[in-house]
């Protein structure tokens, strides 16, 4: 049996375990609010209020996942009326990196999957409307497509602008006509 790299983190308890997640100010201002004292409370990260402000967390360029042979399963929600919440894989802490992310964008109609090959990016819509509730998102990165699902319902695969190389777990909040806020409940990644 082959054992591949696996990562699982439940955002639960008094705080985030040091040495695993690296809080990153991707652009502009923002803040890490920490674990939410609430039923099913997760880790809250908030961007500043100016458009394009982005605040997130990743594994600080320790990239153990294969952009064309890995899975991400995560549960998160957008908490803010405006703004964007994203989670998935990225190659660097930059907001123009090769990446694959679930997108919960207050300005859109449906939840989306974004992929970026390092030069160009694009999104594909799901058939699930945007909202402020937790959902379970899953993506399977392949060499020809990204298969993905929301709450265990398969969505149309994405075949363009696929990332390559090594990836790290990442999530962030982004301002859009007001601050963005993400609340992370679970994050899992593994190579196939």
């Amino acid at each position: 049996m082959t054992i591949n790299q696996k990562f699982l983190y439940h955002f639960c308890g008094a705080g985030i375990t040091t040495g695993i997640w690296f809080n990153r100010q991707i652009n502009g201002t923002g803040s890490v609010l920490g674990i939410n004292d609430a039923l099913n409370g997760g880790n809250k990260i908030q961007s500043g209020t100016s458009d394009g402000n982005k605040t997130g967390a990743d594994t600080n360029n320790f990239r153990q996942f294969d952009a064309q042979n890995a899975v991400c399963v995560t549960e998160f929600k957008r908490n803010s009326a405006n703004g964007i919440a994203r989670a998935g894989f990225t190659a660097t802490g930059s907001d123009v990196a090769a990446r694959a992310q679930f997108v919960e964008d207050a300005s859109k109609t449906f939840k989306q999957l974004l992929s970026h090959d390092g030069s160009n990016g694009s999104t594909i819509d799901s058939n699930v409307a945007i909202d402020l509730a937790y959902h379970q998102y899953k993506m399977t990165l392949g060499s020809a497509s990204i298969a993905w699902s929301i709450d265990k319902v398969l969505q149309t695969a994405k075949t363009t602008n696929l990332p390559t190389g090594k990836m790290m777990p990442q999530y962030h909040a982004e301002a859009l006509s007001g601050l963005g806020e993400i609340e992370m409940l679970h994050y899992e990644a593994f190579n196939i």
Partner: protein, 212 residues
Amino acid sequence: MSSILEKLHPDVASIGKSHFFDDMSAKKIRDWWSVVQKAGSGSSGALDGIDNGIFLTTGPTVNAEVAMDFGDKRPFNKNGCKFISKLRFDNPTIATAFTGFTEQVSTAPAGSAGNDYVGLRMRTSDTFWNTAVRSGGASAVITDTAVFRNTSPFDLEITLGASSSETRINRGISTVNAGALPTVNLQAFLWIITSNASAKTVEMMQCEAFNT
């Protein structure tokens, strides 16, 4: 390779619920826990031995107490959650070790495990493990199990439902309590308090808690 998260949350109804797991291995108590020396002296950390876990130790004074919880972050549903743990207590006849779900223990006054809790404990003067449930600051409801206290490791399980709580020790049903449920949402905890002037240690080897 398959997803652990998908197995933990196998259907849509289980999505979006908190799940906590600590294997209590490695060199320290993880930052998931807030450890507080509530009275007297004491220490905490990880133990170096086969099948050992983390420990809380009191100092050698009467009513010395140490507790750990989620620092008053309460993700667990008072009407639907489960706690699973393995625990060992080095001297259950002259001190109290208590674990399960609470509203507040590390920040509660000395000698208190909070106004709302449901837990399993080994306590001075009791013959058996017992279940203690407190609801909204009312007097705790104490129910003896039929499991004798000793210094062996015990597997513990607590299930909170909408109208009752159930505890199991070493996988056998120990108590079922109707009514007197906690009135607020909860956090996991471990607490030790002395009743004479000698140091005591409680050890926890794993802890899992989740909403159902």
